[in-house]
Symmetry: C2
Subunit: 478 residues, 2 copies
């Protein structure tokens, strides 16, 4: 193809340089590129389509539980951000400040929202008066800005996209239940739609959200053994309600403060997809959110009837999958590489001989397994194979996590593992922050979470030897 | 209902005070409320659901034509905004400036995007190299910020939500065709989905977009006779391409500048819906975008079987419409008023006697027409009635526009109409900006557009008497 300037270049292998591999995949799969503003990414059409599928899936899960979307202002006045003490301490150092509107200097600085608890609370104070107004189950899809020093596409960017749910409830029990319920939604979404196994647990006080009483998290393990916090759900108690004067009349006609939660999942999850399923040929997308689930590649497309058949299949199969047909003049080999790079779960090859035999070849992205399928059976075979890709991805990720999760009962053992084996380490903990700091210092690990599913690995803290309170999963993290 | 604190209060009538009526509807229908930041609105769940329906409808129209969504950064460096001279002059006076990130003062100010031509162009310079890379048909859904002096919910807010399409083409012809095609998409959307008749035309140079060669517009007439610009589509030529160094190798292997368009529709369109269809009982929503198309109200709901029947209908009818059932203990009268205020297109009343007779009552929001319908026919009757509501709204709006559109052939006549009759005025124009300024001064009207469908009302300019070039629609505008 003399005319064809585009070439699919090989990417750095994971083994050689995992960080570079990640960057190569983001770029070559055309998910995102950097813009002229430091740390702000352009999410390209393929990445945006992936995010839209993630958003639509999650949004349907939220709405099925009664949540409503709302659109809150981008700006937060400085005085509003300062209302809740812990919260402002956590966020003020990393916000972008608007100081001028047009030619005029503002009387009060506005920050670009880093998260929206404060504006939600201000609104809740306006609209919550009676127990009849509760619960309020609101969510918004938006971008937020945090002034990060070092950034990487999807994993840590100054501007990122997310949803933030903010709910208010009559009782603490209800709010706790919501915090847990929404963590469950995230875990189900990761496992059912992204084929990513996750550990559900609670963050230690050191790692919790600024202003929260408790933070629940789902943690996933990446290819390189590092953990990635994939979604969080916070219980606030009535701390913000008190700071923002939100009160309601309860069923006994008494004034009460409502109890609050918030929960979020962001474009970081795209980083988790890349680093959980990707391989040395590029991206591997879980079928439920893949922008293209099946790519049809006509072989020897100049031969009579091939393009017509491919187009006919595209029409037909649009009913069972998101289909693309590529009839460009790139070579088949080039196309194979391109759609592998883009992680399309299934490839359908059809050439003159296949047409004669009323068949085609289906190739799975995850394991390159080929199946010759009768054209009459595609409507059943394709959904089956997409499910098989999903299951294969999930099982592979789960097996990897299990084989890379270790147990330590002494500090030496923990350091030894942390220094030599990428992965997660389960160990008992006394509950003191000093031990967290020491493990960070000596082993370079942080507490990822206290899993809901606790195990009794011993009776003493792996670090200080005092009586243990919880089993913690430790690890290096993104 | 002693226990029921909520009351549906009457709103100001249109006749009495149109501006107050508008504000009342926005508030009482719970579409939006103001936040603590001047000019920034909170779009409440009902308004957000309406916007989501608008967005999904438009988005499907764009995608069907091959447009892809992309997510661009919120911030634009000052130097980038300055690259195209006319553009920066138009926007710099009304942008919000970020000067600090965290504790640190930025070396270069960033503006919060007022529109994204500049960042799109920067990206296009990176990714457009050959005619094979064209056309690029990108769109983004986001919010933008313009530092407005006076604001009103939806009509003019500092932050507003919109989509902005930005496309690049090989030839001027193609870009002109795209500019026109997208205006057509907006016009079809307004007429088919919002039941709003629009006039398609071109803006005069005075009224065009900063940096564009030509701006096309659709103009709608509100209840009070004022025009509302409802969507615009711009042809840029290669001005931005030259300013941003975007060049491609054409089919003859020569370097060329591509030709550009952009087009946008915003949350302003919700203002247009309110002021086109609303009445003294509140909002009236066009069925295609109404968050709830049919509300089921059980009558005498304490009687045995009523709530069960209502719930059964809700289940059943979810297949043909977006349905809500209200079994709260508010009185039927209160519920009637509430769903009229919220503009729900159809109301279904069902009580014990209806159940006995296997029937129910359907009431249209637009004209309060009641139909008694057999429960067996609902699946066909409801879509028919929703279509009838749509058609009724469209015809009413069209008749109003026609009855309130006048023709003027002399300046006196034009002033006389402008001073005494709310509405639009068609009159011939010489093409000079001085006449536009004079008409603004003497009659208080601006040129809304030069309609694509021109009429020959005379041979001379209504203002200066020189030979006329175009028929213009003049009016007061939002």
């Amino acid at each position: 193809m003399a005319d064809n300037k585009k070439m699919v270049e090989a990417i750095t292998s994971m083994e050689e340089d995992f960080t570079q591999w990640y960057t190569d995949v983001v770029k070559k799969a055309e998910l995102a590129s950097y813009s002229g503003v430091r740390g702000c990414m352009i999410v390209r059409p393929y990445g945006t389509a992936l995010w839209e599928n993630i958003r639509n899936d999650l949004d349907a899960r939220f709405k099925a539980l009664g949540h409503e979307n709302i659109m809150m202002p981008l700006f937060i006045p400085e005085s509003l951000l300062q209302r809740e003490k812990d919260h402002v301490e956590g966020f003020a150092p990393e916000v972008a400040w608007v100081t001028h509107g047009g030619e005029e200097k503002l009387q009060e600085r506005l920050c670009v929202r880093p998260t929206s608890e404060t504006v939600f609370c201000e609104h809740y104070a306006d609209i919550i008066h009676s127990y009849r107004d509760l619960p309020k189950l609101y969510n918004q899809w938006c971008s937020v800005v945090r002034w990060e020093k070092t950034t990487r596409p999807f994993l840590r960017t100054m501007e990122f996209y997310w949803q933030e749910g903010h709910t208010m409830h009559e009782t603490a029990e209800e709010a706790w239940a919501e915090t847990e319920r929404m963590l469950g939604v995230y875990a189900d979404f990761c496992e059912q739609s992204l084929a990513i196994p996750v550990i559900k647990g609670r963050k230690t006080d050191k790692e919790k959200f600024a202003g929260a009483e408790a933070t629940y998290t789902i943690e996933a393990m990446m290819h390189d053994g590092k953990a990635l916090q994939s979604g969080t759900s916070h219980y606030f108690g009535d701390g913000f309600a008190r700071a923002f004067d939100i009160q309601y009349t309860d069923r006994a006609n008494k004034l009460q403060y409502p109890h609050q939660t918030s929960w979020g999942m962001s474009t970081r999850i795209i980083g988790a997809i890349i680093m959980t399923h990707g391989d040395d040929n590029g991206l591997v997308l879980p079928p439920a959110v893949a922008p293209v689930q099946l790519v049809i590649l006509p072989i020897a497309q100049h031969k009579p009837g091939v393009l017509e058949k491919a187009a006919e299949l595209k029409e037909r199969l649009a009913k069972v999958a998101r289909v693309k047909m590529d009839d460009s003049d790139n070579s088949p080999g080039w196309k194979f590489a391109e759609y592998e790079m883009k992680g399309v779960p299934l490839r359908l090859e059809i050439g003159p001989r296949d047409i004669e035999n009323n068949q085609c070849v289906l190739v799975r992205r995850d394991n390159r397994e080929k199946t010759v399928v009768s054209l009459d059976e595609l409507e059943t075979k394709i959904p089956e194979l997409l499910q098989a890709v999903h299951d294969g991805l999930y099982q592979k990720a789960l097996a990897r996590r299990e084989s890379m999760t270790y147990t330590a009962t002494t500090l030496d053992e923990l350091c030894e593992i942390a220094n030599n084996k990428p992965g997660l380490i389960k160990a008992m903990w006394c509950g003191e922050e000093s031990c967290e700091l020491q493990l960070k210092e000596q082993a370079g690990v942080t507490s990822r979470c206290m899993p809901f599913e606790q195990e009794e690995l011993g009776e003493t803290c792996v670090c200080c030897g005092k009586p243990a309170k919880k089993m913690v999963v430790w690890g290096k993290a993104y």
